[in-house]
């Protein structure tokens, strides 16, 4: 089911920060993991991910470094900075509060 673009856009930054906080990742790997974990519900394109990655790098939340991967191929890995770590925690916490609030409203039986 295709999601609303604005809804997707607002969560990409948080999801990227959260994923990269697990370990250093490259762009294609992030897309793959998102696809796997959402079982194909989120199908990010290059146009979705790379501008966000670059924006986060520009804000110094992420730092990029070219490294040799397991396959012997050089890839650009993104790592979370200390500033990015704080941002990731804040965003996730914000999302939890937000979703809890939305769920609270949605799950409440309608009062006549």
């Amino acid at each position: 089911m295709p999601f609303n673009t604005e809804l997707v856009g607002s969560t990409v930054e948080m999801l990227v920060l959260r994923l990269v906080s697990e370990r250093a990742m490259y762009g294609y790997e992030i897309i793959q993991i998102v696809n796997e974990r959402t079982e194909g519900a989120f199908s990010w394109k290059e146009g979705t991910l790379y501008p966000v990655l670059h924006r986060l790098e520009g804000k110094s939340y992420l730092v990029a470094e070219w490294q040799m991967g397991d396959s012997g191929k050089k890839r650009k890995y993104y790592k979370l900075t200390t500033k990015g770590m704080a941002q990731a925690t804040e965003k996730v916490s914000e999302w939890e509060t937000f979703s809890r609030s939305v769920n609270a409203v949605l799950c409440q039986p309608a009062q006549s």
Partner: protein, 717 residues
């Protein structure tokens, strides 16, 4: 085909970032790598390579949309990087060049100027410094230098000295100013000169100075003594009468002089007055300027008195040859009171004392011969005995052995500064204490560290110039192509790591090691046998500070070029050529810098720099011509362009941290040095000379000389 398509697609998607070539290449590589990964995924799903490539291309979406999004995402970063690049190009490099010139060449010029002033003050022809940076640099050295120009108006500027006296003629100590005026008055116009001396006699009748000056003036024209002439094989050396009138007048003035109780030129008093007019000295060159003043006031006595001493036995011999034996004996009798006058009283400077010692030796030796020739055997024997005692004093002074048979020279040589060891004959038998030697010794260590730093800065500046030229050549070469060399912006982490590992760490390690008691060896001075070790340490730390940061940054630039897909030569190929080129340039830089410092000639700097630049240009031209080099032109150009800010940054860092710290240490040690330099700033009326040890040495020499002269008189009594 597949690669090319992915490359084109990635290039199209990153096209919006072309204003920042490094970012463009970086993003292009990233997107290309992404496409390759995607194609590999589809291949893993069982598709053929062509199908996989096609699927990857299709799922990539519109490159134009992505280009717009990427431009938007990177706009802020691009602005910042462009500003940084502009700062590096327009600010950091020029600032570094100015700093390197100011710190390296500027200080050298100031030191050279100070040395010239010192030499100028000793030589008859005063050559004042006219080097650049001296006037504009500001600071105490420049100020001191300008005051020195005003104060030092001699010997060519009699007018300044006259004005100096005129300005102080109504002061209670006007006799001091007059004596100073008389001392350096030119004697070309004899009438005016005699009148001036007579006025001096009126101002201070007890002072033998004016009669001695007149005797020196008359006898200079009246007689040429044997001792003044150079003996040639087969040619008899005689005493010659040049002018009878001057000869007689000279003898008359000499006999008048020895009737007077004291001879005072007041040079030390004038020195103190002049030093008090100057700003407080700070760095070595300031102190050298002060030494120049002291030397200018005190050294002329040495030659002047010695010339008179040489003439007296000659006069006696001429009179004896004319049959005027009584007059001859009377003239010769003047030798002892004259030596006593030269030896002076408790206010004599050490230079005057040493001058008196030299005159006493000369007069007593020749005096004994003259008395013997005149048949005055008792006087001949007495004078001969005095001569032997004076020679003993001189020998004791020369060897430095004191009453306790301890020789301070060995200690000074081991623990003192080079300046202290130069001055050790002056100290005579008086041994300075260990604590007195420490500041001078440490000052010299700091000074040598500064010299090393200046050499490093000059080499870095030349390296910077070389990379700028190379970068410009490669840019020119690539003007009609897409392979324009990049100015890479290394990450802050790379810069910090390279500078910490390459410059700060070697400097800190050297500092910690060299200051460790016993291990560092700083309890010994440069004059000691350990100087090759000190020199080797400085060479090692200097070379490390030049080579290590450049090597680390160079490695990271190479790495970055590989990341960006820029063709990079094989390490072997690069390192063999680069090693030769770099080794040649560094060697030329070091040779040039050492030549400039060792030869002390700033004028060498310009032609030598020119030669090095020419060599650099030739090497670049050779690279230019070689096909292999051209293939990697983008890499070499990028390397040259990206290394320039690194050299510039290193120069700024060293100039703003190591240089001020060393200057602070230099000023600090100089201030504490009461033995060699620093005493000049602490000159007071309590000291006969300039320092406590000079006071002690001066008093001791005066006492020994007086004792040597009076021993027979006392024995007779």
């Amino acid at each position: 085909m597949q690669q090319q398509s992915f490359e084109q697609l990635a290039e199209e998607a990153a096209a919006g970032l072309k204003a920042d070539r490094e970012l463009f290449l970086d993003v292009k590589q990233e997107l290309q790598s992404h496409l390759e990964d995607k194609a590999r995924y589809f291949t893993g799903q069982g598709h053929s390579q062509e199908e996989s490539a096609e699927l990857a291309r299709k799922s990539f979406g519109s490159p134009l949309d992505l280009a717009a999004e990427l431009l938007d995402a990177n706009r802020r970063r691009m602005k910042l990087r462009s500003l940084l690049r502009l700062t590096f190009g327009a600010l950091v490099v020029p600032v570094a060049v100015v700093l390197a010139l100011y710190v390296g060449y500027g200080r050298l010029a100031r030191a050279k100027a100070a040395t010239e002033t010192l030499y100028g003050s000793i030589a008859t022809d005063v050559k004042l410094p006219t080097l650049p940076f001296l006037g504009a640099a500001g600071g105490p050295a420049a100020h001191v230098s300008s005051v020195v120009r005003q104060l030092q108006g001699r010997p060519g500027n009699a007018e300044n000295i006259r004005r100096y006296w005129e300005a102080h003629r109504n002061e209670p100590d006007s006799h001091i100013y007059y004596a100073y005026y008389a001392l350096f008055l030119e004697d070309k116009d004899e009438r005016a000169y005699v009148e001036a001396m007579r006025q001096g006699e009126k101002i201070e009748p007890q002072n033998a100075l004016y009669n001695v000056l007149l005797a020196e003036h008359y006898l200079a024209h009246g007689v040429l003594a044997k001792a003044e002439r150079v003996e040639k094989a087969g040619e008899p050396v005689t005493d010659d009468m040049l002018d009878r009138r001057a000869f007689e007048l000279g003898i008359a003035e000499l006999r008048k002089a020895v009737q007077k109780p004291y001879l005072r030129g007041y040079q030390m008093e004038v020195v103190r007055k002049k030093l008090n007019m100057l700003p407080h000295p700070l760095l070595t060159e300031d102190y050298i300027h002060l030494i120049a003043i002291v030397a200018a006031e005190l050294f002329p006595d040495l030659t002047r008195h010695r010339t008179l001493a040489r003439k007296i036995p000659g006069c006696a011999r001429i009179l004896a040859s004319e049959g005027r034996a009584a007059d001859a004996e009377a003239v010769m009798d003047a030798w002892k009171p004259l030596t006593a006058l030269f030896a002076g009283d408790s206010n004599t400077t050490l230079i005057s004392g040493l001058s008196a010692l030299a005159c006493g030796t000369l007069l007593s030796k020749e005096g004994a011969e003259v008395y013997s020739m005149l048949g005055a055997q008792a006087k001949a024997q007495e004078t001969s005995a005095i001569y032997e005692r004076i020679v003993r004093v001189k020998e004791e002074w020369r060897t430095g052995a004191n009453e306790n048979k301890q020789n301070p020279k060995a200690m000074i040589l081991s623990h003192g500064s080079r300046m202290a060891s130069i001055l050790s004959p002056v100290f005579g038998s008086i041994a300075p204490e260990q604590r007195e030697l420490t500041p001078g010794r440490m000052h010299e260590h700091v000074l040598m560290e500064e010299v090393t730093l200046h050499l490093v800065l000059i080499v870095l500046a030349l390296a910077l110039l070389g990379t700028l030229i190379q970068g410009a050549v490669w840019l020119h070469r690539a003007r009609h192509t897409d392979s324009i060399p990049l100015l890479l912006m290394p990450s802050a982490r790379t810069i910090v790591r390279s500078l910490l590992l390459g410059a700060v760490l070697p400097a800190l390690l050297y500092w910690a090691y060299s200051r460790l008691p016993m291990v560092g060896g700083r309890e010994h001075g440069w004059a000691s046998a350990m100087w090759p070790r000190f020199a080797a340490e400085l060479v090692v730390v200097g070379l490390l500070m030049i080579w290590l940061p450049a090597h680390l940054i160079r490695r990271s630039i190479r790495q970055r070029c590989e990341d960006l897909g820029i063709p990079v030569p094989e390490k072997k190929e690069e390192s063999s050529t680069t090693r030769r080129v770099r080794g040649g340039i560094i060697a030329a830089c070091i040779v040039a810098a050492v030549a400039v410092f060792v030869r002390g000639s700033v004028s060498l700097l310009i032609p030598l720099s020119g030669v090095i630049l020419a060599v650099g240009l030739c090497i670049t031209a050779m690279r230019y011509a070689r096909g292999k080099r051209q293939r990697y032109g983008l890499y070499y150009g990028t390397l040259a362009r990206s290394l320039a800010p690194v050299y510039a940054f290193s120069i700024i860092l060293l100039s703003l941290t190591a240089q001020p710290w060393l200057l602070y240490k230099e000023a600090n040690w100089l201030r504490k040095d009461t033995l060699t330099y620093g005493y000049l700033a602490q000159s007071s009326d309590k000291n006969v000379g300039c320092s406590s040890i000079e006071t002690q040495a001066s008093l001791r020499l005066s006492r020994l000389l007086q004792q040597a002269l009076e021993a027979n008189t006392q024995a007779r009594k």
